[in-house]
């Protein structure tokens, strides 16, 4: 497949995953803001920090407010990672590889494109309750994944798309855990209080993990939740599972079953096995933030290795 096409498949999926995550973050944060007692300040700043665009936010805004954050993350055409721009970019990538995707998939991404354009024109962020809007984005993205799974052949393009989606997902899960874990670690008098439980539940909900966690582990504990989001072997948004499936897709692309045949496979393999043999108690002991920070650096290395191995021209010429 053309390197450019692989690149566009990867980014189309990556942007869609980002849009879906943001939509869920916003929905959960909005819900949470309704349940907080009046004396507790709303946590909109950590949400922006989670997305990695806190610096840009500060350049563009003097103060923090619910409405400003919703605009910045959901609609702002000047924020390259706003949901609006994620959908625009995903659609632009889709358009550039139109012959590689199905009519159904194209129609769905086009629907979302007109939906966010319309949302910006209608100034949805000024509405009292924008949750319907974000819910529609989330559902639109989920339909997109469904159409991919139901209509796209499992050839290279599908795998590059899946890799884009999984790396984005691992990144977002690690970031939200990183930001929230410290804020939520309770002071002794709060342990087990209603507020405490609501907030940990919100963290799980923002990565669609609440129902699955509850079913399997019941009681909400900080270490249990961290273990679930980092190291669970079955949950589709855990960092480990995202990496395991990335490794599988890379193997399908190279066609080699053992060892590694390019830098991307090597990097992913190392990072995956580090997670496979990790213990949540060790992670907590050495420091959650240090651990997740380190993980994000390695994840970035994986992304660069994939770009170098498959998307760049120089590499292709040497493969002749």
């Amino acid at each position: 497949m053309l390197s450019r096409v692989a690149d566009a498949m990867y980014w189309m999926n990556r942007y869609m995953e980002r849009a879906e995550n943001y939509a869920r973050f916003m929905d959960v944060s909005f819900n949470l803001s309704l349940e907080l007692p009046p004396d507790v300040s709303e946590q909109w700043q950590p949400l922006v920090v989670t997305t990695g665009d806190w610096e840009l936010y500060q350049v563009m805004n003097k103060t923090i407010s619910k409405q400003k954050v919703i605009y910045f993350l959901g609609f702002d055409p000047k924020n390259p990672n706003s949901i609006y721009n994620c959908i625009i970019n995903a659609r632009e990538n889709a358009r550039s590889i139109r012959p590689e995707i199905t009519k159904e998939l194209w129609a769905q991404i086009n629907y979302l494109y007109y939906f966010v354009k319309d949302g910006l024109a209608k100034k949805i962020w000024t509405k009292r309750d924008p949750r319907m809007y974000f819910d529609e984005i989330k559902k639109g993205c989920q339909l997109f994944w469904g159409i991919i799974d139901a209509t796209i052949s499992r050839t290279e393009g599908w795998h590059f798309g899946r890799i884009g989606k999984l790396l984005e997902r691992a990144d977002k899960t690690s970031r939200i855990l990183d930001v929230k874990y410290h804020i939520l670690l309770p002071s002794p008098q709060d342990i087990g209080s209603a507020l405490d439980i609501i907030q940990w539940a919100a963290l799980l909900k923002s990565v669609s993990a609440y129902d699955m966690y509850r079913k399997l582990f019941g009681k909400l504990t900080p270490s249990g939740i961290a273990n679930f989001l980092i190291l669970d072997k079955e949950f589709p948004r855990s960092m480990l599972l995202c990496l395991e499936h990335t490794a599988l897709s890379l193997k399908m692309i190279s066609g080699k079953n053992s060892g590694y045949s390019n830098l991307a496979e090597k990097e992913v393999g190392i990072l995956t096995s580090q997670l496979e043999y990790a213990d949540i108690n060790d992670i907590i002991k050495t420091g959650m933030h240090e651990y997740l920070d380190n993980f994000q650096i390695k994840l970035n290395n994986v992304s660069s290795a994939i770009a170098d191995s498959f998307f760049s021209i120089e590499n292709s010429i040497t493969k002749m």
Partner: protein, 492 residues
């Protein structure tokens, strides 16, 4: 977004009142001047009457939505990047009788056969110039005559593989060729998608009328492209300038329908005069390129050095015969509006035949007598720049101001080689749904598509472009034009 699934029974079945329709003295494809319906439109008109105007408008509305959801959009050059519009599809079809079509097909085949002989001649022996049938300087001075192609013989001797000839019908009901479009004619995707949409809009009418199918086009296109390469199976690519090009939808559509690779210039690399595409698993050879990038931009080493759309070395690989380019570079010279005036002579010279499908009378401003006539009668004529297209660089005399006319007079005097003029032709009209939901006559042209590999094939259908603005004669999409599906119907 299925057109047929809409609940139309909610609407009143107001009959369509054709009593209000006025042909206004124009040649109408549907109605005689006394408002009786022409035989080939009879069945359609009856169905329309039964359907009612409200339902018709509803169907029109769903069509707009289908086009949006399919992303059938184009960027207009003067707009900012990212501004996309749909090419409005008017759901009332333009119907052509099988008899008329067979005549058009014969005329087109003759014309395209002759134009290919002409191109092969002017890039090789130049007999037609030596015999002074066409003034030498007219060809050799043309900016579209590519000296780099002199002496080249493309596979099968064919230069123009894909044509989209512009045909109009005048007040006398006769068909005329307006432009040959031998470079990178666009619009065929609209012919194909319009048909798909209308089949969903009027299924019961298609069931009854034997409309000649067009869906074979992309298969024929692929077969034609494959036939040009000695390699089998040939690796085929469609070369696009990218997503901001106004015809990008079409490039992607054709690549997808043919199962060819859609590439941009940066996806290709030339090594040892062989063209490769850059893939995730190294370089893969390309044999045939249906390029939708203009001659000037295909190779910065040979043509415009500032082009980012092409691939360095592509032309070298082409001259060595290592890759086939479709259409061949250099065909633009036969598309020059001044050369157009000589097409009757070209046909006669190479085929010894009279032209079947006539030209519109054309005044060449480079000829002193013609120039004088044009300047004196500019208010009644259409003046065109010889190397422009897309409805740009033209003056429609009867619709222009004195100042605009004076501007063109000066332009003609300054550079007569660049201008031709033609009488203003009142293009034929077809009933069309207006913005306020009524039916009025609008002017149309006709663009059939012709393929030439082993043989010349004319697809029985066309893009009918329609000037949506009341009274307008300009059908170009960049100037407020829309489209109609074109039905060739036998046995009526």
């Amino acid at each position: 977004m299925d057109v047929i699934s809409l609940n139309i029974s909610l609407y009143n079945m107001a009959r369509i009142n054709i009593e209000n329709y006025e042909t206004e003295g124009f040649f109408d494809e549907t109605f005689e001047s006394d408002k009786t319906v022409k035989p080939h439109y009879k069945y359609f008109a009856d169905r329309l009457q039964k359907m009612g105007i409200k339902r018709l408008n509803l169907l029109q509305h769903s069509t707009d939505r289908v086009q949006m959801s399919l992303g059938m959009t184009f960027n207009v050059y003067s707009d900012n990047q990212g501004i996309e519009r749909i090419l409005h599809l008017d759901i009332i079809p333009r119907i052509v009788t099988g008899k008329d079509w067979d005549y058009l097909e014969k005329g087109l085949k003759q014309r395209i056969y002759a134009m290919n002989l002409f191109l092969d001649d002017i890039y090789n022996d130049q007999k037609i110039l030596k015999d002074k049938v066409i003034p030498k300087e007219l060809i050799l001075s043309s900016s579209t005559y590519l000296k780099q192609c002199i002496g080249f013989k493309p596979p099968k001797g064919v230069w123009v593989h894909i044509t989209g000839t512009d045909i109009i019908r005048g007040g006398d009901g006769g068909y005329y060729v307006l432009e040959d479009n031998l470079r990178c004619p666009s619009g065929v995707s609209y012919m194909l998608e319009n048909r798909e949409i209308l089949k969903r809009t009027f299924p019961e009418i298609f069931e009854k009328l034997a409309v000649r199918p067009v869906a074979n086009y992309t298969h024929s296109l692929r077969d034609m492209l494959e036939s040009l390469s000695p390699v089998s199976p040939a690796s085929i690519a469609v070369l696009t300038p990218g997503i901001y090009n106004s015809a990008y939808f079409e490039h992607a559509y054709l690549a997808q329908q043919m199962g060819a690779e859609l590439v941009e210039g940066r996806d290709l690399v030339v090594k040892d005069d062989i063209v490769y595409k850059i893939t995730t698993k190294g370089l893969k050879r390309v044999d045939v390129i249906y390029r939708r990038v203009d001659d000037d931009f295909i190779d910065p080493e040979v043509f415009r050095s500032d082009s980012l759309l092409g691939t360095p070395g592509l032309f070298r690989a082409y001259l060595k015969g290592n890759v086939v380019l479709v259409n061949a570079p250099g065909t633009g010279v036969a598309d020059d509006k001044a050369v157009y005036a000589y097409v009757p002579d070209i046909i006669k010279y190479y085929l010894g035949e009279e032209m079947i499908l006539p030209n519109v009378q054309t005044y060449i401003c480079n000829r002193p007598d013609d120039q004088k006539f044009v300047i004196e009668n500019i208010a009644d004529l259409v003046v065109k720049q010889t190397d422009a297209s897309g409805g740009y660089g033209m003056l429609i005399g009867p619709k222009s101001t004195k100042a605009e006319q004076e501007e063109f007079v000066q332009k003609i005097k300054k550079n007569p080689r660049n201008y031709i003029a033609q009488p203003t032709i009142n293009l034929s009209r077809v009933p069309t749904l207006t913005e306020d939901g009524t039916i009025e006559g609008r002017h149309v042209d006709l663009r059939p598509y012709v393929l030439y590999g082993n043989e010349i094939k004319v697809t029985p259908g066309a893009l009918t472009r329609v000037a949506l603005k009341k009274g307008s004669l300009v059908v170009n999409s960049s100037q407020g034009g829309g489209s109609k599906d074109t039905w060739v119907v036998d046995n009526i």
